[in-house]
């Protein structure tokens, strides 16, 4: 496993686009966090996002996991292109001739996807913890470390998404087309979801890959204090389950497995 990660990281380290995208990802990550702490001064109206309660423990775990997850699309580009560039450069063929098995090839890509998801999750944890410690109104140990399920949900969400990208990169063999395919899948799932809404087949959209990933971390906006109090004034109590469901986690992990195994079967069948 060490050898395979080593091989893949060596490739990424020497790929300019992968380096740029990775740096872009992590700097956007940090700057988004920093931006929320800046005080906007509009004359008599002072506004600071950090003062709106988004960094209150334990709510901040939920809030941050949800919003930071949007940035994953940047890493998706890295994952897709690390797969498809092996096709366009025909280096996949050379790797196999040099003695890498098809299984090892897929595994090396998968391991690095896990690594990316892990790094992003750790960074999310650290950044959220630091911002929370600065801005949170509550700082009891027990409160700080409650609701950590969102961090776990975030990891699974990224892992599932990257595995899907891996599969699409291999299936389509061209980065741009693979990302287009991803977009198409998103639209198709949207159509399926909308057309089955309020029918007895509504449950089907729980199982489609992107939808399942989306449901992993429910939206946190309506849980925010100011929104809630506004809703109360309008007598519209918001009732929603905000927890990370085990069922959805299992669904996404199943998709992860299907994507990685599917990629392996696909590669095994192909003549290069």
């Amino acid at each position: 496993m060490r050898r395979l990660i080593n091989i893949e990281l060596f490739k990424l380290r020497h790929s300019r686009s992968a380096k740029i995208m990775t740096i872009l990802y992590f700097s956007l990550f940090l700057s988004a966090a920093l931006l929320s702490t800046i005080k906007f001064d509009f004359g008599p109206f002072n506004f600071r996002l950090a003062d709106q309660g988004i960094y209150n423990f334990p709510y901040t775990w939920h809030f941050m996991s949800f919003f930071v997850a949007f940035l994953k699309i940047i890493l998706a580009i890295v994952i897709v292109s690390m797969m498809s560039s092996e096709y366009t450069n025909r280096t996949l063929k050379q790797n196999l001739i040099d003695g890498l098995s098809k299984k090892e090839f897929i595994l090396s890509k998968f391991y690095v996807s896990v690594l990316y998801a892990l790094c992003s999750t750790i960074l999310l944890f650290v950044v959220t913890l630091v911002l929370g410690l600065i801005f949170s109104d509550y700082d009891e140990f027990q409160i700080i470390f409650s609701d950590l399920e969102y961090i776990g949900g975030y990891f699974v969400k990224l892992l599932g998404f990257f595995s899907l990208c891996l599969f699409l990169g291999l299936l389509v063999k061209r980065s741009a087309f693979a990302l287009g395919f991803l977009f198409l899948l998103w639209i198709v799932e949207g159509i399926i979801g909308a057309s089955l809404h309020d029918t007895k087949f509504d449950f089907i959209s729980d199982y489609t890959p992107l939808n399942a990933m989306w449901r992993l971390i429910p939206e946190p906006i309506t849980r925010l204090d100011i929104i809630n109090s506004a809703a109360k004034q309008l007598n519209a109590e918001i009732m929603q389950d905000y927890s990370v469901s085990i069922f959805t986690i299992i669904t996404v992990l199943a998709w992860t497995f299907l994507c990685v195994f599917g990629a392996y079967r696909l590669l095994k069948k192909r003549d290069l």
């Binding site: 050898r3 790929s15 025909r90 050379q94 196999l96 040099d98 003695g99 098995s101």
Partner: protein
Amino acid sequence: MPETILELKNLTKRFGKSTAVSDLSFSIEKGNVYGILGPNGSGKSTTLGMVLNVINVTSGSFEWFSDTMDTHDALKKVGAIIESPNFYPNMSAKDNLKLVCKIKEIDEGNIENVLKTVELLDRQHDQFKTYSLGMKQRLAIASALLNNPEILILDEPTNGLDPKGIHQIREIIKKIAHNGTTILLASHLLDEVEKICTHVVVIRQGKKLYAGRVDEMNASFGYIEASVEKLDNFTSFLDRLDFIDKFDNIEHDQIRIFLNKDYSAGEFNKLCFEKGFVLTHLIKRKESLEEQFLKLTN
């Protein structure tokens, strides 16, 4: 008992309805230099692709090192270059070779050595995409030599190169062959095979036509080309000679006579003169591999 490096058993590959390789069997023994000869599209690259794990086998099988290990592990002991050199364009030559070392699980200490062999040492830090085709091909050979391979597989190594590049590659191959490394060379260039190889496998449309030593393939008694003024009587004279296999009229007054036993040009000249035929042109040749090849593949 010579050590068998690779054995093909009834290897077959079909792409849809067309059969690229059909029931091909031969074996590669240690220390020999093999050539796979065949016209373009005869299945050479497909055959190599199958034993190199990139093309799936339709039926039949192959064994590396008497089937003692998995194909991908066996390939770590093989050095192979295929039609075009494939490397990571943004990596330098040296980094590309480092990556190959990681895949083959070998020490990086050999990198400098192989770069020196192919005369790329002074360009080792330049990105692969800045290389000329000849340099790319040489880097591919360097990469194939990294692990001191048990066998070197070369698929059309001089394809597309200029005369200087072709010469450089051939010199390198000869040097490697001279060191006793087993080589399998696929080519449609006959003089390449004739100059380098000890054994040859001739294939056409995926079928084996000949497998054996190059010099045995060339074991005919050669032919005589002769011209004479009065052709009509001469052909009826030739008909009566028992050392002649057959003869063709190749130009209006020139005849190519194929021998079926050893017979020298001098003896032939003397015989003709005694019978009253004055030859205006006489030459005796061994058939080249090219002629043998055309005979086999036509």
